[in-house]
Subunit: 195 residues, 2 copies
DNA sequence: ACCTGAACACCGTTCAAGT
DNA sequence: ACCTGAACACCGTTCAAGT
């Protein structure tokens, strides 16, 4: 039963799920795997790379990987639905995993290309008519909002804060209102979504 | 020259500004202040409380504290301008301070009431007609976006990443388009901003 | 190729004891 | 009241040496 990279990442995900990021240390990981700390560094070059791998695994759920395969052209109104669905799937997926928003944030900074569902969201924005730069900015707005909402909800639970949780979904929909203005189908003005 | 709480916070802000969060340790702070580590704990109960203080000081700039004093009633169109101004002031203020977005995030979780400018932004949203819950959610969207943009720009610099920075301001304006729909002054329909 | 043992240079926090 | 000295229980990372 040799130690593998997958085993290391898997154990890391397990610790995160059960105990959170504070307990996810290289030494704790080694102890759980009955191995010396140094052994981990044969399979993973450092902790940051491990966290990227953990985030990638968290976002590899089928709930996020589905969709966008083949879309009938000119189904414009569904781009919004795709993004809304992606955002709320992300939210429900991360909510039960402590500190998952922080981990995804780190991964987004270090290796955004490893987080396929987030890349797909940017692509959806461009498909909806935004320029690449604006699509990146729009994705950033949406993802920051969802991750922020997850982090807030988790911390609210941790600190036993009273008061109502903020309605992340309402703000998400309003953001999409601004980012993807509805195509006007009342009069015949051919104004596109971008510009 | 007795050690004071203000001196501790001031030195912490200095380390953050010059070297970033990685170098802002209690031990480094004590060394810079020519004091034993334990001494810090007389003036500050733990590191988290210190970070809240650091964030509060970062956001105590006059650029963020101004405005909203007395507004002529029914100057509805300027709520948007106020928020836009607050958001971009926050951005330009934090951008030169390494890891400042992370520090503010921590403070926002631990003691949001200590960050007056952010509270003021929520108040502006309610003044613009949103319910308290929605105002909180709208503020969260905007602040997460600005902090995310700051963090991204700083990391882009750290890792010498090529490619254009995302246009945070465009997305911010689109978000406000959705959050604060313009009052319709073409026909005489009295639809309010909320709902 | 893969892992151990042991070191290096750090952390945050606590607390008796001093002044 | 305020600070020192010293400890406790940790960190991430490296690397010669073993197998």
């Amino acid at each position: 039963m040799a130690l593998t990279r997958e085993a290391v990442v898997g154990a890391a995900v397990g610790i995160l799920r059960e105990f959170g990021l504070a307990d996810l240390s290289m030494r704790r990981l080694a102890r759980d795997l009955n191995v010396q700390v140094g052994a981990l560094y044969w399979h993973v070059s450092n902790k940051q790379e491990l966290l990227v791998e953990v985030a990638a695994e968290l976002l590899s759920s089928p709930a996020l990987t589905a969709g966008t395969a083949a879309r009938p052209p000119a189904a414009a109104a569904t781009w919004r639905g795709d993004i809304l669905h992606l955002g709320s799937s992300l939210h429900t997926l991360l909510l039960p995993v402590p500190d998952s928003a922080e981990v995804v944030q780190v991964a987004r900074v270090l290796a955004p290309e490893r987080l396929a569902p987030l890349t797909r969201m940017t692509e959806t924005f461009t498909a909806a008519g935004l320029t690449p730069e604006r699509a990146a900015s729009a994705q950033s707005l949406v993802v920051n909002h969802v991750l922020g909402a997850v982090a807030e909800a988790q911390n609210r639970a941790d600190f036993e804060i009273t008061g109502s949780a903020t309605d992340y979904r309402w703000a998400l929909e309003r953001a999409l209102d601004g980012l993807l203005p509805p195509v006007a189908h009342d009069a015949g003005n051919g104004r596109a979504a971008g510009e």
